[in-house]
C-alpha cells in the first residue's frame, strides 16, 4: 500500500463537509435513544423504592424496564453516537472522507428500526433473558449487520488513507470495529446450549462489549481530543503502544470474573481473575500517558467544554478500571458480588467514562460539521455539572451502601429483609441523582437541537432527501 501518491488530498473542511450528514445522523439517533433510555432509567430507579407505582402495568414492570434501559443505552445511545464520533475521528486522522456514506445512513435507519422493534419485544415479554443480550437474536443480528457495514467503511478508509503513520486512536478504532461485530456474531451462535456454558458466553460477551467496543472508542477519543485541544503531542509513543497491546491481551480474558463462586470450573474463573489484575498495566500506562500530556495545562480543562468532559471521563476510566481489578479478587468479590456496588461500578464505566467522553466529543465535533457555534456557554456548564454531580452521587450512594449490604448478606445473623431496608435511603438518593442527570441530558439535547434548527437562518446544507441521494452518488 502506498498511501497518498496519486490521489487527491482533502482539506479539513472538505472532510468535515463530507462527514456532515452521516455523522450528524448517527449522533442525533444516539441522542434520541439517550433520552428514551433516561426515561426508562427513571422508571426503574423509582420502582426500586416505590414498588407499587404503576404496579399493575405488566409491560412497565421493573424486570422489563431495567433490561430495556441497558439495551437502549448500550446499543442505542453509546453505540450509535460512538460510531458517529469514531467515523469523524477516523476521517480526520486518516485524511480520507468517510466511505460508503449512503450505505451507512441506510444501516443507521435499519439500526434504529431494530432498536425500536427490540424495545417493543422486551416490553412485550420476548426478552432473550441474557444480561446485555436481551434483544431477541434476530434483532441483535440486524444491529450487528449494520455495524459490519460501518466496519467495512472503516477498513476502506484505512486503505484509502492519505497519511503514512497510524495514530494511536486509529489502532483503537480499527480494533473496536473488528471486535464488536465478531462479539455480536459469536454471541448469536446457537452453540451455547447448556446453561452454564451460556453463562460463560454471557459474561465473556458482556464484559467484552464494554472492554472491546466502548473502551477502545472512549480511549481513542481521549487520545484524540486531549492533544488536539491542548495543541501538544501525546506524551509517549512507547506508552501508547504498551497500553494498546496490554488491553488487547488482557481485557479479552476478563469475562469469567463475573462468575466467581459460580457453578463453572474454578480454573476458568482463576484465569479471568489474573487477567483482570493484569489490566492494571494498560490502565496505569494510559493514565500516565494522558496525565503527562495534560500536566501544566490544567487551565484549559476549565475553559474548554470538550476537555472538561474528556478529562473527567479519562479520570473515571482509570478509577473504574482499578476498581474493577480489585473487585475481581475473591476476597473483595465475596463481599460485593450480588450487591448494588456492582451496579454502580457498571455505571461509572458506561456513564462517567463512556457517556461523558461522548458528550465531550460532541462538543468538539458538532460545531465543526455544522459550521455553527454552540448558542449558550452557560448551558454547557449546567450540562457538565448536573451530569458530573449526578453520577458522583449515584456512585457514592450505591457503592457506599453496597459494601454494607454485602457484609450484612454474608452475616447469617442479619435477617435478609434488613439487607433490603438498609438500602432504601440510598436507592432514593440514586433516584435524585437520576433526576439531575436527566436535567443534564435535556439541556444537552436542547443544545444539540439548536445546532441544526435555527429559524431565520438559511440551512447550511440541502434538505434531507436530496442529501441522501447525494451521499449515494458520491
Amino acid at each position: 500500500m502506498d498511501p497518498g501518491s496519486n490521489q487527491p488530498s482533502y482539506s479539513v473542511s472538505d472532510l468535515d463537509r463530507k462527514a456532515r450528514f452521516v455523522v450528524l445522523f448517527l449522533i442525533f439517533s444516539g441522542v434520541f435513544w439517550l433520552l428514551f433510555g433516561t426515561l426508562l432509567a427513571l422508571f426503574a430507579s423509582l420502582k426500586m423504592h416505590l414498588p407499587d407505582w404503576l404496579g399493575t402495568a405488566g409491560w412497565l414492570t421493573f424486570g422489563r424496564v431495567r433490561p430495556l434501559h441497558l439495551n437502549t443505552m448500550v446499543y442505542g445511545w453509546a453505540s450509535l453516537t460512538g460510531a458517529g464520533v469514531s467515523l469523524w475521528m477516523l476521517s480526520r486522522l486518516l485524511k480520507a472522507p468517510i466511505m460508503l456514506r449512503g450505505y451507512i445512513v441506510l444501516a443507521g435507519v435499519v439500526w434504529n428500526i431494530a432498536l425500536l422493534l427490540g424495545s417493543i419485544q422486551i416490553l412485550a415479554g420476548f426478552s432473550r433473558g441474557i444480561e446485555w443480550l436481551e434483544f431477541p437474536v434476530a434483532t441483535m443480528v440486524a444491529i450487528v449487520l449494520c455495524v459490519i457495514i460501518i466496519s467495512v467503511s472503516v477498513l476502506l478508509m484505512l486503505i484509502n488513507r492519505r497519511v503514512k503513520q497510524l495514530y494511536v486512536s486509529v489502532w483503537y478504532l480499527i480494533a473496536a470495529f473488528l471486535w464488536f461485530p465478531l462479539l455480536g456474531l459469536v454471541s448469536s451462535l446457537p452453540i451455547f446450549d447448556t446453561p452454564t456454558v451460556q453463562a460463560g458466553m454471557n459474561w465473556w460477551y458482556a464484559h467484552n462489549a464494554l472492554g472491546l467496543w466502548f473502551t477502545p472508542v472512549g480511549l481513542a477519543a481521549a487520545y484524540y481530543f486531549i492533544p488536539k485541544v491542548l495543541g501538544r503531542p501525546i506524551y509517549s509513543y512507547g506508552l501508547s503502544l504498551l497500553g494498546f497491546w496490554g488491553l488487547a491481551l488482557f481485557y479479552n480474558w476478563n469475562g469469567f470474573h463475573h462468575l466467581i463462586g459460580g457453578p463453572v470450573p474454578t480454573w476458568f474463573v482463576t484465569i479471568s481473575i489474573s487477567a483482570s489484575v493484569m489490566m492494571v498495566i494498560p490502565v496505569v500506562v494510559v493514565a500516565v500517558n494522558h496525565h503527562m500530556t495534560v500536566v501544566g495545562s490544567f487551565r484549559a480543562v476549565v475553559n474548554s467544554p470538550t476537555l472538561r468532559f474528556v478529562v473527567f471521563a479519562a479520570m473515571s476510566y482509570t478509577f473504574v478500571s482499578l476498581q474493577g481489578a480489585a473487585q475481581a479478587l475473591r476476597s473483595f468479590n465475596e463481599v460485593i458480588h450480588f450487591t448494588h456496588f456492582v451496579v454502580a461500578h457498571a455505571h461509572i464505566g458506561m456513564y462517567a467514562f463512556v457517556t461523558m467522553m461522548l458528550f465531550g466529543a460532541c462538543y468538539y465535533i458538532i460545531p465543526r460539521v455544522t459550521m455553527r457555534e454552540w448558542h449558550s456557554k452557560g448551558l454547557i456548564k449546567w450540562h457538565f455539572w448536573l451530569t458530573a454531580i449526578g453520577i458522583i452521587i449515584y456512585a457514592g450512594a450505591l457503592q457506599g451502601i453496597g459494601v454494607f449490604q454485602g457484609f450484612a448478606m454474608n452475616d447469617p445473623e442479619v435477617p435478609f429483609t434488613d439487607t433490603v431496608t438498609m438500602t432504601i435511603p440510598y436507592l432514593v438518593a440514586r433516584s435524585v441523582s437520576g433526576f439531575l442527570m436527566t436535567a443534564g441530558h435535556l439541556i444537552f439535547a436542547w443544545l444539540m437541537f439548536r445546532m441544526v434548527y435555527r429559524p431565520g437562518e438559511q440551512p447550511a446544507s440541502p434538505l434531507v432527501w436530496n442529501k441522501i441521494r447525494e451521499e449515494f452518488a458520491s
Partner: protein
C-alpha cells in the same frame, strides 16, 4: 511504526484466542456431563421458566449458591453449592448477578407451599411489609365472590382484599409457581 499487518493480525489473534478459551473450551469441558443422560422437564416447569424470564425475575434474584465458607449462602439455608448439572436443559441460564431479593436456587425446598407463592407474587407486601418486589397482578384474575364455587382464591390480608371479589391465579401463575417449587438443591450435587 506499527505495520498494518501486525495491527490487524494482533487484533484478531488476541480476540480469537480468548474467545476459544472462555467460550469453546468451557463448552468442551461442561457440555457432555450436563447433556447426558437426557433429562425430562415437565411442560408446566418449562412454561414457568419462560414466564420467569419474561418478567425479568433474574434482575433481583440470583439462582446460584456459593460454597459453604464463601459468603453466607449455606448458612442462610439457600442450599449446597450449585454445580453445572443443576441447570440441565432450561435456557436461558438465569444464574443472575444481583440479590436485591434472596437467591432462588433452593426456593422450592424453603417454600414448598403453592399458596405462599401465589400470595407473594400477587402482592409481596401482604407477606413482608418491607419487601420491594413488584406485584405481578397480571398473573391473576379478579372475579366475583360467587363465580367458580369451590375455589376460594387467595387468602389476602384485610388491607389488600377487594370487597365482593376474589383473586384467582391464572395458568401462567400456576406454571411459574410449579417452576419455583421445582428449584430444590437439597439433593446431592453430582448424579
Amino acid at each position: 511504526m506499527m505495520r498494518n499487518t501486525i495491527l490487524l493480525f494482533g487484533i484478531i489473534a488476541t480476540f480469537a484466542i480468548a474467545m476459544f478459551g472462555l467460550t469453546i473450551l468451557p463448552k468442551m469441558f461442561i457440555d457432555k456431563a450436563v447433556k447426558e443422560p437426557d433429562y425430562y422437564t415437565p411442560f408446566e416447569v418449562t412454561e414457568g421458566h419462560r414466564i420467569f424470564v419474561r418478567e425479568g425475575c433474574i434482575y433481583c434474584h440470583s439462582k446460584q449458591v456459593r460454597a459453604e465458607g464463601f459468603g453466607a449462602d449455606f448458612e442462610r439455608g439457600w442450599g449446597r453449592a450449585s454445580v453445572a448439572t443443576d441447570y440441565r436443559n432450561l435456557l436461558p441460564h438465569n444464574l443472575g448477578t444481583m440479590r436485591t431479593g434472596p437467591d432462588l436456587a433452593n426456593i422450592g425446598a424453603r417454600q414448598p407451599g403453592r399458596d405462599w407463592h401465589y400470595l407473594n407474587l400477587y402482592q409481596p407486601r401482604a407477606i413482608n411489609e418491607h419487601s420491594i418486589m413488584p406485584p405481578f397482578s397480571w398473573l391473576f384474575e379478579v372475579v366475583s365472590e360467587d363465580a367458580r364455587p369451590g375455589d376460594e382464591g387467595l387468602r389476602l390480608p384485610e388491607a389488600y382484599r377487594i370487597p365482593g371479589m376474589k383473586v384467582l391465579p391464572t395458568d401462567e401463575a400456576h406454571s411459574l409457581v410449579a417452576y419455583l417449587i421445582s428449584l430444590d438443591q437439597q439433593t446431592a450435587g453430582v448424579d
